[in-house]
Amino acid sequence: MTDTSMFGRILSSNIRECVVGYRTSESAIPPFGSMVRIPVSHAQQPEIYGLVTDIQIEEDGFLRQLATNDQVSEEVMLDARANRNVPVVLRILFIGYLENGNISHLLPPCPPLTLDNIYKCTNAEITAFTSFGNFGYIRHILKVTNVPPGELLAAHISQAAKAQFADNHFGWTERAINEVIYLMRDNYADLLAILGAIGDADISLDGEEEEQE
């Protein structure tokens, strides 16, 4: 998924998350933890913000056949990588929504029923959403059940931090980590696991200080 939209089908949805199926090239598959925006139906309805919490590449029989060959030409390999749309199932956790230009960190009032387009959020959208309020959306991430919350948080914070830097906002990463610590400090083991994952991610706190200097 690039900046252009991609459409597919809602396989299932509820008020907390949805599962979306579509075809896309390997290079356009959204990374784990990235932020996406899903319009619900018409322009008047809220747009839902979500995080990609799982990516399943469905079996592609054709690729399997190619793979069993002794020799595969360079062009075929390039084709598979660049052009070939693979069936992808994304699991998207809702973290908030945008209604009439106002951001909310609550769960959306209604889930998407049909899927027209799914957009990868721009840096400006990521910055606006993650800077809004006081990190209320993080509580949704911490309750995720299909992946370790620490991994998801680390991926999300890593992406959001880069967007914040790009938008010349500093100090966000430290505030985000502080909020995570505040929410999780009653649970020692889980918090340490989360901080360990964040520590392993490419997240620079020192870089923010250097920028400020």
Partner: protein, 391 residues
Amino acid sequence: MPVNYLQLQSQIHILSDSILNQREKGKEALEKLTDQFKAAANLPDLAERVSAKLRENRGLSCALPREERIDSHISASDHSGEIVNILAADGSQINPSRHEEVSFGLINTAIFKMRMNGNEAPQIVTETKLLEREDDSLQEKLNNEANVGLFRDVEERRLLSREACKIPQGEPVVALTDGPLQLYYFQEPNTTENPLVNEYYKALAEMSEKKIITAGYTDRPRSTFVIDMLRLLMNSDPQDLRVKQTLVFDSNLFSRILLPGERSALFKLISPAVEQMPAVVQISFFYLNVGNNSRPMITRIEIPEWVSKDPAAIDLLHYSLLQQNGFISSNPYPYALHRAHECAVVQFSEKEHVKQLIIRELLSRGVTDLGKSAKQIAKDLFGTTYRDFEE
């Protein structure tokens, strides 16, 4: 209602008997035909003999030998390392349906372009066209489907020609379509001239000028052109000749003649429909074994006149087809054609999406009385399930 399996049981048994019976007869026929083929191969002036027979029996379809002995089995030269542009075209369609909220036709055509030994990622070009809605009578409906199919075929050739002609001179171009080279339209007798056909000719003419090696690829052909030629040679009863036999196909015959990777001799395709076509698009064909020692797989390759006169082009085509099939050796089929098909196919979800876009546009313009037919609604309710991504 569920299938009445009880009724089927005995019928399956009878059918199987019939099939086995046919296969036995086929085996016997094949033995005979093989002998006839070998004998014919040794006949001098075979082509004149067949031509004479055709003049005596006008309106028949069969193969006409060309320069190569009919029992030739030819291997391709090695063109590995050479830059060759392979293009493949395919299309898919949505047929208008009066049962839907809005009736519309759609053609989606895809061209898959790969530059062998160029180390580039293949490119894909797709074009999508909505067809104007026709009247709703039954006859028109049939015509509509046929029209949509014709339109699709023409679009495939047109786009293929356009993209092939874009490639700079100097690099060989092989442009493939699936199925016979001639339009399906031409297979119907007594057809009146259709403006779309001119489009088709124009596309072929363009490719001819650029010496583009274009071919139609038919997988598992059920053609009997060569066998009909043998029958013509051996049989003098005109009535008999007009009865199509279905016991043995050319592919059965050539599976005994061609080793894996070998092509047959080139034959000219003689048929009333082809005779209507301009000279430049007169079709020749050869059979190609794309299987292996344990399982021969015979395909038919149709080529236009300008390609059939160019042995080097035929050889390059031969080599390229083997290479393309070799990418999916477990199930040989040209990679480029497969990819073109993938890119052209319209998924159910996409069809629905297009329909919704049209409905939204109409709603915004004040049209509010759109709805499915009762029949369609009932069908939808009955629980038609669709696989996630493919129709």
